[in-house]
């Protein structure tokens, strides 16, 4: 086992990793940019290294992060999610520098990072993918190939960036005109976002459900799954609510999980990963992609299995076998995770940076908070808007939703707008309560945005009291 690891990330996932590492008795090193120097992960780690002025660019600077690891005496680097987590060069350069990358080897990241190669590998393993193309050639040739695919499979058709991920680089086309336009736009966006303008097509499924399976694979040929997650509730392909397990018949769940293990073996997977599927209206499932990193939503899996996935990641990377066998894994109850973001849902979910004036987090039985925010924290405008992840566990779906509703009602954040009131609406929405949701849920329920946004009563009173104090009299008591 290592003695010290560096966490090449920020925010809640950095803290999440630090916690597991500390439980294993490891020292931890945080990195940060100047623009992020009040971030909580710096306070939680045993050491911290400034890697640059930021914003954002230094968290992507492989050389500086490796240098920080070397100079601090870290033996391994955990990339978290986002930033460099799925950059095969980072994995490779860590290895080249004599550091252990806590994640899959570069080739796995590279293969699964290319959606086209990933589909090819899965096809060879007889895993059904959504009908799709290889990388489309540029120009007229690509357009013609796209049109032919559309004529064969019909609309809708998704244009996807080969290097895309996390819901980015995807465009949905409902007709030929849109398809040709989206090809151009998607190439341009992919070039800007990923430095790679390659795109391919996939047949779009109508209102599919998004399912995924958490897998663990070690250096000894052991591959196990930790069950399913339903991540169908998304906004613009970004997950908002994740649930474990997916609400499907057990036989189907077992089949999907087995498929995920097969997929992992097919790509020689190592460490923790997620195999994603889309499920159509007839419960047919299709391989979507493999995420070669820890997922934001891994907490719901941890809640229903009791497995500390990050701990397993570190153990596997240090050369230990997975601590469990498949038959040791049992699934108990239900867990839901919400991303509490500093966003204004009523304003198209625009980021809402600013000073967190009040932060009163909920607690109680079955409640887990993975946060990186504190009262008095000035949320920087440069980074992800997620303040905290709220994960709630219950024996049944109903109990979990009731608990989540209670927890949301006791969650007070003032100073910035958050997604909390939006989630409160969802907790009482009939389709959600009946577990009737697919990827179109947010778009087909616009009434969720119809809520009153109110500062807690006592805080509003306190605002007046502060104003009285400032003036030395109550300006509202004068006639």
């Amino acid at each position: 086992m290592f003695n010290k690891i560096l966490v090449a990330n920020r925010g809640e996932i950095a803290i999440r990793i630090i916690r597991s590492a500390q439980e294993l008795g490891l020292k931890t090193v945080a990195v940060y940019e100047e623009t992020d120097r009040t971030a909580m992960h710096i306070m939680k780690a045993d050491e911290a290294v400034c890697i640059g002025t930021g914003p954002r660019k230094d968290y992507l600077n492989i050389e500086r992060i490796i240098q920080a690891a070397l100079s601090s005496g870290a033996e391994a680097i955990h990339p978290g999610y986002g930033f460099l987590a799925e950059n095969p060069n980072f994995s490779k350069e860590c290895t080249d520098a004599g550091l252990v990358f806590i994640g899959p080897p570069p080739k796995v990241i590279s293969d699964m990072g290319s959606k086209v190669i990933a589909r090819r590998i899965m096809n060879e393993a007889r895993i059904r993918s959504i009908p799709g193309t290889d990388i489309l050639p540029e120009g007229e040739e690509g357009d013609e190939e796209a049109m032919a695919f559309a004529e064969q499979h019909g609309f809708p058709i998704m244009v996807k960036a080969v290097a895309g991920g996390g819901g980015r680089g995807i465009r949905n086309s409902a007709n030929m005109k849109e398809l040709l336009k989206n090809l151009k736009v998607a190439r341009s966006e992919a070039r800007m976002a990923f430095g790679n303008e390659d795109v391919y097509l996939e047949k779009g499924l109508k209102n599919p459900r998004h399912l995924e399976v958490q897998v663990l694979a070690d250096n000894y040929g052991n591959v196990i799954h930790l069950g399913t997650r339903n991540c169908s509730i998304q906004r613009r392909h970004q997950k908002m609510i994740e649930i474990a397990p997916a609400n499907l018949p057990k036989a189907l769940l077992d089949q999907i999980c087995e498929t995920a293990v097969t997929a992992s073996r097919a790509c020689n997977y190592l460490n923790a990963g997620t195999v994603e599927f889309l499920l159509d209206e007839d419960d047919h499932y299709y391989f979507l992609e493999v995420n070669t990193r820890i997922q934001v939503e891994h907490t719901v899996t941890e809640m229903i299995t009791g497995v500390d996935i990050v701990r397993e990641q570190i153990r596997i990377a240090s050369g230990e076998p997975i601590a469990f066998k498949q038959e040791d894994i049992t699934f108990r109850g239900c867990a839901i995770e919400l991303r509490i973001n500093a966003e204004d849902p009523k304003n198209n979910f625009m980021a809402s940076p600013g000073l967190v004036q009040i932060y009163q987090s909920p607690g109680g039985h079955g409640t887990r908070m993975d946060g990186a925010v504190y009262q008095g924290y000035e949320i920087p405008r440069y980074y992800d808007s997620m303040l905290t992840k709220l994960t709630v566990y219950g024996f049944t779906w109903e109990e979990t939703v009731q608990r989540l509703s209670r927890v949301l009602n006791g969650f007070i954040i003032a100073g910035v707008k958050t997604t909390i009131p939006f989630y409160k609406q969802i907790m009482k929405e009939p389709d959600f309560l009946a577990q009737k949701f697919d990827t179109s849920y947010i778009e087909t329920h616009p009434e969720l945005l119809d809520y009153e946004e109110e500062m807690p009563e006592m805080d509003r009173l306190a605002t007046l009291v502060a104003e009285i104090n400032a003036h030395g009299y109550n300006p509202y008591a004068e006639l």
């Binding site: 000073l355 004036q357 009040i358 932060y359 009163q360 009262q375 008095g376 007070i412 003032a414 009153e452 500062m455 009563e457 006592m458 805080d459 509003r460 009173l461 306190a462 605002t463 007046l464 009291v465 502060a466 104003e467 009285i468 104090n469 400032a470 003036h471 030395g472 009299y473 109550n474 300006p475 509202y476 008591a477 004068e478 006639l479």
Partner: protein, 554 residues
């Protein structure tokens, strides 16, 4: 208290009236509304009212007047509480006591007449909480009361029409007996008739004679007496009224009642005891407890008590009503006339006589007072207000006794006339009572919705129709600061800010305790940063008040 002697909101108006008729002795109505208006510039806060509510509820009053007059408007302006919410709070705290409001007829709780549909809506909505409606018109013009009276009866509430008491030419027993006859024929016999002595006029003997005359002509009519103690002699009038047959008398708490409101209940009880007259079911001890608390609270309101100290028996000449006196003196002080107050009061006396010896009560009292002040400042009737013009044009109704002299019409009506018309022509063409068209309520609702960015409730629309600007200001205030009535009164009227370490403790609507603790106050230029902890879980809250007003503690 035997059940037969109580009056509860659950009883029908018929049951209440029957019980009043069939029970010997007298009853009392605690008029905090008038005490607040007359002696404390309407500033008694809900927090104080709620503090003593359990004791008052136990006392056994016939009713508790907590609404109406100027207080609805001031609730919105200076107390920042929704008047309906105040009634809900009082009702919750005093479940056994009838709640009473005083209403200015067509002018409701405002200063000018409203259209019929606004009046009906207001009475309907306020009747959810108000059990007794004391209504009056300053001209004693009964048609001005009929719309309100109809709606009160429709709501099944107690109707208490008033005759406004006055002295001087024309105000004879016959005048009042005719008025009572007119009221009875317009509203029926199931009423309580109030004698409204708003300016502390007359002597005990005069009030006794009037009561006796009414009782002689209408022996079954229930009578109520509402007076003011401006001259220090209302106790005499109250006692005289009861001895001649008045059933209900309005009183104040001795711990808070002062000069311009009602005389204290306990003094009256003690006096009437000597004459063998008792108040059935009335408990003295909770009333004493109420006063003990109010004496302590009173210190907070000290700066709202009148700057013009002492009883004023000359009120019989100038007739300034108790409900307006305190605020009138404040206004005089603001325009530098407090030193010349005797001049103003002397002029007020003349104005009263010249303007038809109309009862000096809202809106008349405001018109007379402003006219007197303007006359002193600018010359007699040289700067008439629009309200004075409206009075002379008969917009409020006909003069009850006599009309002003021609020269006054000439000066007032021809003032600033661009068309050169003479006063007689103006009176002919424009005179007469206002006939207001009904409001388009849905249009006004949409208008309000646009201003507060949400659909208003019926109650909010009702307030908006009466006080458009101040209601909207209040709704915005409430949206920003919430239910500030929860704050202790000493916080609301704070002077000088708070010290580090100060703690504010208060209860919310559900009785739960809350805390606000002051950590620090930092002043930088004109900005003040206050750090406070909110509630026992110690949430720290930092505010910046960047304002030129940030003058710091005074």
């Amino acid at each position: 208290m035997p059940d037969s002697q109580t009056f509860t909101p659950q009883m029908s108006s018929r049951e209440i009236l029957d019980r009043l008729r069939n029970t010997s002795g007298y009853f009392m109505t605690n008029n905090e509304r008038d005490l607040s208006q007359s002696d404390f510039k309407c500033r008694i806060m809900p927090n104080t009212t709620l503090k003593v509510a359990p004791y008052r509820d136990e006392t056994g009053y016939f009713a508790f007047e907590i609404c109406g007059g100027a207080c609805v408007h001031v609730d919105l302006m200076g107390k920042q509480i929704n008047p309906f919410e105040k009634l809900r709070l009082v009702r919750k705290s005093m479940p056994r006591t009838l709640l009473q409001a005083v209403c200015r007829g067509r002018s409701l709780f405002g200063y000018r007449p409203y259209p019929d549909n606004v009046i009906r809506m207001a009475v309907r909505l306020f009747s959810r909480y108000i059990d007794v409606w004391r209504i009056y018109d300053f001209l004693n013009y009964v048609p001005n009361l009929t719309v309100v009276a109809e709606e009160v009866k429709n709501a099944g509430k107690i109707l208490m029409p008033s005759i406004c008491f006055n002295t001087g030419y024309g105000y004879t027993n016959d005048y009042y007996l005719n008025k009572v006859e007119e009221i009875l024929s317009a509203m029926g016999e199931d009423i309580i008739l109030s004698i409204k002595n708003h300016s502390a006029l007359g002597t005990p003997r005069r009030i006794g004679e009037l009561v006796a005359a009414i009782r002689q002509r209408f022996p079954d009519l229930l009578l109520e007496y509402h007076g003011h103690n401006t001259d220090g002699n209302d106790l005499g009038r109250m006692v005289s009224a009861v001895m001649e047959g008045v059933k209900i008398v309005e009183v104040s708490d001795h711990g808070a009642g002062g000069i311009y409101s009602q005389a204290p209940a306990l003094s009256m009880i003690q006096t009437l005891n000597d004459y063998g007259m008792t108040a059935p079911g009335f408990k003295v001890q909770p009333m004493v407890d109420t006063s003990d608390i109010l004496r302590r609270e009173r210190r907070i309101y000290e700066r709202f008590e009148s700057t013009y100290h002492g009883f004023d028996p000359t009120v019989k000449r100038h007739k300034l009503p108790g409900g307006a006196a305190n605020i009138a003196f404040e206004q005089a002080e603001r325009v530098g006339l407090l030193e010349r107050i005797h001049e103003v009061l002397s002029e007020l006396s003349e104005v009263n006589k010249e303007l038809g010896n109309v009862c000096s009560v809202t809106p008349g009292s405001q018109i007379f007072w402003t006219t007197a002040v303007n006359n002193v400042l600018h010359g007699r009737y040289r700067n008439p207000t629009d309200d004075l013009k409206r009075l002379l044009l008969g917009r409020y109704g006909p003069f009850p006794i006599y009309n002003p002299q021609d020269w006054i019409y000439e000066r007032v009506l021809e003032y600033n006339r661009k068309d050169g018309k003479k006063w007689r022509q103006i009176l002919d063409e424009e005179g007469g009572i206002s006939r207001l068209h009904d409001e388009d309520l849905e249009a006004r609702r949409l208008e309000l919705q646009g201003k507060i960015s949400r659909p208003p409730t019926d109650e909010e629309l009702c307030l908006y129709l009466q006080f458009p600007r101040d209601a909207v200001e209040y709704f915005r205030f409430e949206n920003k600061f919430g239910k500030t009535w929860m704050l202790p009164t000493e916080v609301w009227f704070n002077r000088g800010g708070f010290q580090d370490g100060d703690r504010i403790t208060f209860s919310d609507y559900d009785g739960k305790t809350h805390y606000i603790d002051f950590i620090s106050t930092r002043r930088t230029g004109d900005s003040v940063q206050t750090s406070i902890l909110v509630d026992h879980n110690f949430q720290s809250l930092t505010h910046k008040v960047s304002s030129q007003k940030a003058a710091g503690p005074k």
